[in-house]
């Protein structure tokens, strides 16, 4: 069965979606990712959708689910690299992906995650790596 690979990068998980998602694949990704967050204790999830041409309400819901589920497991989710056409379509469809953080690309997404997590950790340990 097809699976979307989930990469571990330090405290974060990176998922790059490069194939057309049909429903079962998306659902598998959802459960895989949540399992993985739990197993690795990841603090952030980056979902790169720069190669995705279509996000419909089902996909939107999966992304929203991943964000909410990760949040419960204490990890933030950032969706990165959404194509302009996809963004316009989602807005027209009435699906603004509330509660999901977004960033222009993986690098910015990583920065965003760091800044969010650093805020929590600044109190106990003062080791700021970037900037």
């Amino acid at each position: 069965m097809d699976r979307i690979p989930i990469l571990r990068m330090g405290p974060f998980l990176l998922v790059t979606i490069q194939v057309d998602l049909y429903d079962r694949l998306a659902l598998t990704l959802e459960s895989d990712l949540v399992q993985m967050v739990n197993k690795t204790g990841a603090r952030g999830v980056l979902i790169d959708i720069s190669a995705v041409e279509i996000v419909d309400s089902f996909m939107g819901r999966i992304i929203g689910n991943i964000a909410s589920m990760s949040k419960i497991l204490d990890a933030e989710t950032v969706v990165v690299g959404m194509q302009p056409a996809v963004a316009i379509t989602l807005i027209e469809l009435g699906l603004p992906l509330k509660g999901v953080y977004t960033a222009l690309n993986v690098e910015r997404g990583m920065q965003l995650l760091r800044s969010m997590i650093d805020l929590d950790e600044d109190q106990d340990e003062d080791e700021e790596t970037d900037e």
Partner: protein
């Protein structure tokens, strides 16, 4: 003005995996009539929503994919036919935020906003037919 059909394909959708080839076929047609990227995305997203509805409520069905023209405009027309339970109250189904399934409830009205023309016919117990047209620059 008259809408003339230039080419016609029929696809049967029975299972989940049929959706991706169907989307590709729609994309192919849209590219052929030089539809812009944003409009293409809107059309395919709308098609995706409708085919999903068809699978969920109508147990699959048949889709007619056509390239149509009206005057100097070209467009893609999709007709989704299922033999499902049908929709009892169409005006209610077209209201933002309404859903019988466990989705976000923006399926039909959201889809309508994405396309140039939208027509829904349904008979309880017989099935539902949805027709959409997206003009290349509409």
């Amino acid at each position: 003005m008259m809408v003339i059909s230039l080419s016609k394909d029929v696809m049967r959708i029975i299972k989940d995996q049929d959706v991706v080839p169907f989307r590709n076929r729609v994309k192919e047609k849209a590219t052929k009539i030089k539809m812009g990227l944003v409009n293409q995305t809107k059309l395919i997203t709308a098609a995706s929503e409708l085919v999903r509805n068809m699978l969920k409520y109508g147990n699959g069905g048949e889709i007619v994919i056509e390239v149509v023209s009206r005057g100097r405009e070209n467009g893609v027309r999709l007709t989704f036919k299922d033999k499902g339970p049908g929709i009892a109250d169409i005006s209610l189904a077209m209201k933002d935020g309404y859903s019988t399934g466990k989705s976000l409830g923006l399926g039909l009205p959201g889809t309508k906003r994405l396309v140039s023309e939208f027509d829904l016919k349904s008979e309880v117990g017989k099935g539902t037919t949805v027709m959409i047209i997206k003009w290349a620059n509409g």
